[in-house]
Symmetry: C2
Subunit: 125 residues, 2 copies
Amino acid sequence: MSTPTPDRIRTTVTEYLRRIEASSAAGIADLYTDTATVEDPVGSDVRKGREEILPLYAALESSRNKTELLTLKIAGNEAAFHFRVTSEVAGTEYVFEPIDVMTFDDDGRITSMRAFWSAPDASDS
Amino acid sequence: MSTPTPDRIRTTVTEYLRRIEASSAAGIADLYTDTATVEDPVGSDVRKGREEILPLYAALESSRNKTELLTLKIAGNEAAFHFRVTSEVAGTEYVFEPIDVMTFDDDGRITSMRAFWSAPDASDS
């Protein structure tokens, strides 16, 4: 199996954050392969495929979102990254700072995502 | 299967960093279960069991090490954390800032560790 280049992985991660800012659930879902899995948060049921993944991002469409990539580590065909999403909903700002772990196919599409966060983390800084 | 409490996981992660500072390879290996696996960095061969894991930490014994926990996210029986190790070897300081992903048994012992870093990351700040 070949491996996506670090640049390709970096591009997908950057695009993932950009599409969160664009509040585009469909655009985010497009970054995943058809059989991709998502475990968000880690320990919860695993979602598989576009129909199960898309609803996870639907809430973004009713908020204004800013993102910031805090740390990105790429190794093999995987990445772990810490990022901040600041969402404004009805005048209130929420800050969310998970660490996501993703695997990628050769084209840099996401084959799996696992999100590390817990309820208290959702508002830490 | 029950799940270790977040406090128990946090204690193990804190102890992991403390034992890196103490330059104690054996002490670190004690935090792992007998059948634990380590993939460091992600994408490399997986080490299994104390005999294979211990050598990974042997280099710490010839350096002076400081650690800092930058971010810790706990979810289910797993943790992802970003930390800094500053090592002094023969008067030169090296900074290493991986993101580690660990799984834990009910007692908070480490059942697996996967380290996300790449060569350029070893000296980033």
